[in-house]
């Protein structure tokens, strides 16, 4: 029974990414390029879907535009430039690395380094406290001995 559930989920996953258009491509490479592009371009109407998975009219139009450009012999980069020129960086799921996106791409790593620095500093502080603890331990042992002798 669990296997049946798993199988049905896998089938759903496959259907979710299927576009309704059946395009004829000039070559297998062109078809691969097309699939890659429509998975990396965002649908601007349903903004958390890519062009591959969206049923919106605009998505259909942009898929067709992508197909036409590839058939005309344009490269994947040409298609990306075309979309970004009209819709901005947001149309790409993977924004291009340029001055305006440095903070976006490098930010998490910078934050990680910052946090590591803080953690290491905090740990160093703890080590400084340790030596006096040896004294405290001895004192505690003496007190305990006294208590034992008294009882």
């Amino acid at each position: 029974m669990p296997r049946l559930f798993l199988l049905s989920f896998l089938l759903f996953a496959a259907v979710a990414n299927a576009e309704t258009e059946a395009y004829e491509f000039g070559s297998a490479q062109m078809e691969a390029d097309y699939k890659k592009l429509i998975n990396e371009l965002r649908c601007l109407v349903c903004q958390n879907q890519n062009l591959a998975g969206s049923n919106a009219d605009l998505a259909k139009d942009l898929r067709h535009q992508t197909y036409q450009m590839l058939m005309q012999g344009k490269s994947s980069d040409d298609v990306i430039d075309y979309m970004v020129a009209r819709y901005g960086d947001f149309v790409l799921y993977r924004p291009q690395l340029k001055p305006s996106t440095y903070l976006l791409w490098l930010g998490p790593f910078i934050l990680l380094v910052l946090v590591l620095v803080l953690v290491i500093r905090h740990m160093r502080q703890k080590q400084v406290i340790s030596p006096p603890e040896a004294d405290s331990l001895r004192r505690a042992a003496e007190l305990l001995d006294d208590a034992d002798r008294k009882s």
Binding site: V45, L62, R86, D89
Partner: protein, 173 residues
């Protein structure tokens, strides 16, 4: 004051997130601001034999309003487009986007035609060139043929008075 650092970080993040709540995540700013009008050649809605290109507007300030008869928000907006036209500050041209010409003409007959004329973009290709991703959208183009401003969504009284009209006055100034 060991709590200064975490408190400081919290206030910073809370401030940024608070500001973020005032923004609209669906707005996609146009990369075409400051760029030349995309080239186009389209037929007029009420005179399909006449073709109009971007050259028609050279040296003039003009407004392009993207609309469709199937667009609900366009109905509410149309009254303000009419007001804009009546002011006579700039030419107001409609881009009838992905629509059936007969439906479009009926719609204008019903609501009253706000535009000097409308152009038919039935397959939406010209819309793509302008970066249109929803309807309605409004563009303001300057005398130099550069796109100066894009308004996403319907124009209401407030945006008309606080954004559109001041920008037009400044451009035609």
């Amino acid at each position: 004051m060991r709590y200064a650092t975490p408190l400081g970080i919290f206030i910073l993040i809370a401030g940024l997130l608070g500001y973020g709540l005032t923004l609209d995540p669906k707005l996609v700013p146009s990369p075409l601001i400051g760029k030349p009008t995309p080239a186009f050649t389209l037929a007029r809605l009420h005179a399909p034999d006449i073709k109009v290109s971007e050259k028609e507007f050279e040296g003039e300030v003009w407004v392009l309003n993207v609309w469709a008869s199937w667009c609900v928000a366009c109905r509410a907006e149309h009254e303000f487009i009419k007001r804009l036209s009546r002011l006579g500050i700039a030419r107001v041209i409609g881009l009838n986007y992905k629509d059936k010409p007969e439906d479009a003409r009926n719609w204008l007959r019903e609501l009253g035609d706000a535009y000097e004329f409308s152009l038919m973009d039935q397959d939406g290709r010209v819309g793509i060139d302008w970066g249109v991703y929803g309807v309605p959208e409004t563009f303001i183009i300057g005398k130099d043929g550069l796109i100066k401003y894009k308004h996403i969504g319907p124009i209401n009284l407030e945006s008309l008075n606080s954004e559109v009209i001041p920008i037009l006055k400044e451009l035609t100034g």
